[in-house]
């Protein structure tokens, strides 16, 4: 079976549109990164410090009811989230006046007192002191930087510098796109999200490498055709495998997203977004950048003599 037969799509010709789209995505992503730097984004408590408690009630609880109960005990700043299956409630409190080690107990006490008829079980509770959050933020920045650096060095070694830059920009684009989606949907940026980002940074290169390999092969075979044509033909030749490899990973991450449970719901969502964006970028971002660059180099070489 073949989903995609022989195609002759002019991917390079679409670069004007795709660059605009990617530019917008990258800018939104950058805003997201800046917001995170400022602490204005929806940060997980593992980065910001704070407390989160997940309670499982025996009877349904409305968010307004819970909020009122917490407000009575000066905890109105709590962030409440309902988890649809099984009367679960997730309560998050950022840095508070309460000492680490006290906030979770206080929340449990509040619900024991205010909802005596509705028995509950503490499914999980996490308390993170601000010093840990600071350290984690720094470690994460270093981790992201080292990953990207490692990728640039490897690709630059395997291909050449221009391909290395193209691949890195495409990877950076994927990373920013994930930040952009999470910013727009106001989803929580936590350690698992960063894990997903780094995973995608590594994975999205697969497609890019496949395309680059073919471009290089065709460039060696053929020196007469224009860059534009060689690049276009290469992308078209490997189009079906680019899409199929992404599709299988997409299927796997989709089943995680749908069936993996609430703990990794957002993590799986980030993976799904990353797989989709990664495919797009290997075709529409990585190759056009290299093509533009190579063309310029060729033109310059022609003008010089």
């Amino acid at each position: 079976m073949e989903l995609i037969g022989k195609t002759k799509i002019d991917f390079m010709g679409m670069k004007k549109i795709s660059f605009v789209i990617s530019g917008i995505i990258a800018i939104v992503g950058l805003i997201g990164v800046v917001q995170i730097g400022r602490g204005a984004a929806n940060m997980g408590i593992d980065f910001s410090g704070g407390t989160s408690v997940q309670l499982k009630f025996s009877q349904p609880v409305s968010i307004t009811q819970a909020r009122a109960a917490l407000a009575k005990h000066n905890l109105s700043e709590a962030n409440l989230q309902e988890i649809t299956d099984g009367n679960k409630l997730l309560i998050k409190i950022g840095k508070t006046t309460l000492a680490t080690g006290k906030a979770a107990d206080t929340i449990v006490d509040v619900f024991t007192k205010e909802m005596p008829g509705n028995k509950f079980e503490v499914e999980s509770s996490t308390e993170i002191g601000p010093s840990i959050g600071d350290k984690l933020r720094k470690d994460t920045l270093v981790a992201v930087a080292i990953s990207l650096l490692g990728i640039i060095i490897y690709i630059a070694w395997r291909f050449d510098f221009k391909f290395g830059i193209g691949a890195t920009l495409a990877t950076l684009h994927d990373v920013l796109a994930m930040f952009a989606v999470f910013l727009l949907l106001n989803k929580e940026v936590n350690l698992l999200f960063i894990t997903a980002v780094l995973t995608i940074a590594g994975y999205s290169l697969t497609d890019t490498v496949v395309v680059f390999d073919r471009i290089r092969e065709n460039l060696h075979k053929n020196l007469k055709e224009s860059m534009q044509t060689v690049f276009n033909r290469s992308i078209n030749e490997v189009l079906s495998r680019t899409i199929i490899t992404s599709l299988t990973t997409f299927l796997a991450s989709m089943s995680l997203f749908l069936f993996g449970g609430e703990v990794i719901h957002d993590f799986a969502f980030a993976l799904v977004v990353g797989v989709l964006v990664g495919t797009y970028s290997s075709i529409f971002v990585a190759s056009p950048i290299v093509a533009l660059w190579e063309e310029r180099a060729v033109n310059a070489a022609q003008v010089k003599p």
Binding site: T206, T248, A252, F259, G260, V263, I264
Partner: protein, 533 residues
């Protein structure tokens, strides 16, 4: 069958056998008796997020240990100078690294200097100077000694916490130092995390202090009491109503006896009131001190102070020799049991406080395992069906490679004693999709070669050869980020990185070698005209 084929098939079979060998303890609930001995017995470790439990990170206030040492030196100097008939006005710790002595004259200062040189050679003596007719003398603890003290305090805290947890009874706890002054404690499957945390985090500095009966505690404020006194509070809980009353008490600042002179502490039940109390035994030094102090202070009250709060302040009715005493107070049996544990295990050299506490209940862990398995099954099903439809028989070969990949991965996780976390399960599910990718690249390449008119065997050869570098590249880049995640991640994220990197390395083997064996096997036996791909 060609020679290369035999070799490759046996390699796969050996790995398969090993994987199942290591997975048996996890899959089989009760191992037969003949399994013991050399065969692997360990199950795959589950992370705290899957089996439930508590993960704590505690910070040791190491500076407090240095200050504590200086306080002890100050107290000891008071005693030594008094014993030598050297009169002093005031001795105390100043700041974070000095002990200051204020003496009456130069001659005493010289004698004191001699004494200090002998007793505390590691302390640096700063030049003396006159201060309003008194001689002011300071000792400084050098940064090196202080640093040594700080390091030791973390070690001691670690040991003490380990003792407490051992006595509390938790199976397979993890207690280790992290960084300079952090201690990580993992308590899998713990039922009452709050109680355990209180037990671990308590400083448990036990002191016996005389009550200053000359001061009316009810009206005393910290500003009005003499300098060598301090104001403490005794909390009493009414056993029937649960109401807490606070009774202020003024005691001498100097502790007569401390908890490090204990040899044992046991819970006993008072037969008269059916109240639990803790019976303590002193070592010989402690017993002698206790004997002296009680003999000299009959009729006075003796406050039993734990971490600056008074447990009880009984009147000394008679001289107590023999080295035993009891701590009673309004506590429950559990509280008494915990108190006896911390007293037996010893006090922490410095206060610790909890900077991270992640507790997962057992029900959520179970739920996560179920959902993770469910997602895995659905993922496998989707990928298997897709590959079979899209690549027909060749798709089945890729599926065979994927299943091998997962089995080998689980086997190596068990063999390496790695910990499986929920993100780790997610990595395995993700790998289901990624592991067929290499075969997709190979198959597409084979299709291309076949279109060029190559025979099936030549097409397969060319496909595998030409796709090799591409597959290598894509695996290395994923491995780079997985390695970084492993280095920086903790707990669940580390589990993700372990599963992902192992899976990727294994995938190189299964997708390049194992699936090719199937092709080679069929192509060498059956004359295939057209490849089902």
């Amino acid at each position: 069958m060609s020679k290369g084929l035999t070799w490759r098939v046996s390699l796969i079979l050996v790995f398969l056998l090993l994987s199942f060998l290591y997975l048996t303890p996890t899959l089989v609930s009760s191992l037969p008796s003949w399994w013991q001995g050399y065969l692997p017995k360990d199950k795959i470790h589950l992370g705290l997020d899957l089996q439930g439990g508590t993960h704590l990170v505690m910070e040791v206030e190491t500076q407090k240990a240095v200050e504590g040492t200086l306080d002890i030196i100050a107290t000891d100097l008071e005693d030594s100078l008094t014993a030598q008939n050297l009169r002093y006005k005031h001795i105390s710790r100043v700041g974070s690294d000095k002990v200051q002595l204020v003496l009456y004259d130069k001659a005493t200062a010289d004698n004191a200097q001699q004494l200090i040189k002998k007793k505390y050679p590691e302390m640096e003596q700063l030049p003396t100077f006159d201060e309003g007719g008194y001689v002011n003398m300071s000792l400084r603890m050098s940064e090196k000694v202080a640093q040594d003290r700080r390091d030791k305090s973390v070690q001691q805290a670690l040991e003490t916490i380990r003792n407490r947890i051992d006595q509390f009874g938790v199976s397979e706890p993890v207690i280790q130092q992290e960084g300079i002054n952090h201690i990580v404690v993992q308590l899998p499957g713990i039922k009452d995390p709050k109680r355990a945390i209180e037990l671990i985090g308590r400083t448990a500095r036990l002191e016996f202090k005389l009550v200053d009966e000359n001061i009316n505690a009810a009206t005393a404020t910290p500003g009005t009491i003499p300098e060598d006194d301090e104001l403490l509070v005794e909390k009493r809980t009414d056993p029937t109503t649960g109401a807490v009353t606070e009774i202020p008490l003024v005691v001498k600042r100097k502790a007569m006896i401390t908890g490090d002179l204990l040899t044992d502490a046991q819970v006993r039940i008072d037969s008269q009131f059916n109240q639990p109390y803790v019976a303590i035994d002193f070592n010989s030094t402690g017993a002698r001190l206790f004997d002296q102090v009680t003999a000299a202070n009959v009729g006075k009250r003796f406050a039993i102070v734990l971490d600056n709060s008074v447990y009880s302040a009984p009147v000394i009715r008679e001289r107590i020799s023999g080295g035993s005493a009891q701590i009673s107070g309004s506590f429950t049996e559990k509280e008494a049991a915990d108190l006896s544990i911390v007293l037996r295990a010893g006090s922490l050299p410095a206060p610790v406080h909890i900077i991270q506490n992640v507790t997962v209940g057992p029900s959520l862990g179970q739920d996560s395992i179920h959902k993770g398995l469910m997602a895995g099954l659905v993922g496998v099903l989707l990928v298997v069906v897709f590959m079979a439809i899209y690549y027909k028989l060749a798709g089945l070969v890729a599926n065979f490679g994927m299943v091998l990949n997962i089995i080998f991965l689980m086997g190596s996780l068990a063999a390496l004693g790695a910990t499986l976390t929920l993100p780790g399960i997610a990595a395995i599910v993700l790998l289901i999709g990624m592991s067929v990718d290499s075969n997709v690249l190979i198959f597409e390449r084979i299709r291309e070669e076949l279109r060029l008119g190559k025979t099936p065997a030549a097409g397969v050869d060319a496909g595998y050869d030409k796709a090799f570098l591409t597959i290598m590249d894509s695996h290395v880049t994923t491995l780079i980020t997985a390695a970084v995640l492993f280095q920086f991640g903790t707990g669940p994220v580390k589990g993700f990185a372990v599963s992902l990197s192992l899976g990727i390395i294994i995938n190189l083997f299964t997708s390049l070698l194992a699936t090719r064996v199937v092709f080679d096997f069929f192509l060498s036996r059956v004359h295939v005209k057209k490849l089902s791909i």
